[in-house]
Amino acid sequence: MAVKKLGSQTVKFQNPPSIRSTYTIVGPKEGEGPLKQYFDLILEEDKWGQESYEKSEAKIQEEAIKGAISNGKLTNKDIDYILSGDLLNQIISSTYTARQFSIPYYGLYGACSTMTESLSLGAMLIDGGFAEHIVCATSSHFSSAERQFRFPLEYGSQRNFAAQWTVTGAGATILSSQGSGPYITYATTGKIVDMGIKDPSNMGGAMAPAAVDTLLTHFKDTGYSPSDYDYIFSGDLGKVGKAIVIDLMLNEGYDLSNKYTDCGVEIFDNDNQDTHAGGSGCGCAAAVFNGYIYKEIKKGNFGRILLMATGALHSTIINQQGESIPGIAHAVTIDLNKG
């Protein structure tokens, strides 16, 4: 009997895990953006003394995890699991980070939805009584993502207006079975939604239907409506995807216009930082959640929020074979109180 299951895709935690601490590291460009005051560490140089961007990304994730553990006044021995993922092939940033810790590790791939994928699974492990403290982490790096998915950095190309800018950064969250909150009270696991978008420069358009599907399911399963939330954040739909979500949700009878935004829209000043439709990448939702959102909840400025990271689960190979881009969105309710 799945006693904690609610409706078709949601779980309600009986002992909601507490978010004990977080840590964020971002690159120089993100550090010039509107949320700069919320990040724990802003790099002056995005290679951070490493030989390659891949090694730099792994170091960023490693230091973010160390920072979160130390902010939570814990040691590595206290952590039961690391749940982490990133965008690179074989999730190397996470694996090579986990190599540095002697902690049991589950590698996750949810593309840019990984932050809420790891928070959902981490919360389930804790509520299930399988762990005391868990690290949930993700990272992305503009330069390692560009070379895997697009063009060399020095190649003179023009970017599409719907294109987004991969965030260089990482965020780590410590979930604990005991603590004073904020708490993760619900998790709605997304299903793959693919409306046939094939253009990899329009990720927002490809992922937006998955976001709408998860939002509708979440409201139906929990009985919550947008008015129960102080704010709703999607992960990295950017300007294009955000507009589609607002529009489609309105068609379904939900007006989100004054309490919904997208982490990708918030992390950069798109007009002055030339980031076109906004930020993207696992690091986008990770940095905005563990930096801005978490700190604002702690200050009491948000009482209950919905965080819904969104992922485009394609690869360049399958895309070149003519396949469309499957989208996914996982949502977690984060509440100052136990609900």
């Binding site: 060399p152 950095l153 020095e154 190649y155 207006f161 719907a162 409306m195 046939g196 589609i244």
Partner: protein, 149 residues
């Protein structure tokens, strides 16, 4: 979501994508591409006036432009020219040079064989294959139509 069919959604999503600024792009491509060609012409005139043969002038001009394209790529300038000029920066031979040098620089971290040498062609490769390929087809057609005369 269930009541929207895929075709309708694709059309709808397409409408939400901001349109490229065609006129601005065309003008900038003309100016940047034109400026590169003017530089080429200056080199060409200078070599002609310096007494080089016609053949040496045409290959010399290309070699110097390729060098300039490679140098500006290495200095981190050509990608900015490409961003402004679009096709105006990509079509001239300096753009070809940029397409070869930028992956060579980028993939140096994977070594000189599997990185630099093999990845050097990831952008320029198709241009080489179909450029050389189509010249062979045109050559054969020419041969057949003119019967070798």
């Amino acid at each position: 979501m269930e009541n929207m069919n895929k075709k309708d959604y694709q059309k709808y999503a397409e409408k939400n994508v901001p349109k490229p600024t065609y006129m601005k792009n065309i003008v900038l491509a003309f100016l940047v591409g034109g400026a590169i060609c003017v530089v080429g012409q200056i080199i060409n005139n200078w070599m002609s006036n310096s007494g080089f043969s016609e053949k040496a002038v045409s290959s010399g001009t290309s070699i110097i432009l390729v060098f300039i394209g490679a140098l500006l790529t290495g200095l981190g300038i050509y990608d900015k020219i490409g961003k402004i000029g679009g096709a105006g920066a990509a079509i001239p031979i300096t753009g070809f040079s940029n397409a070869m040098v930028s992956p060579a620089m980028e993939f140096k971290t994977e070594g000189f064989i599997f990185g630099v040498a093999s990845k050097m062609f990831i952008i320029a490769g198709p241009v080489l294959v179909y450029g050389v390929g189509s010249s062979i087809v045109v050559g054969i057609l020419h041969l057949l139509l003119t019967k070798g005369r």
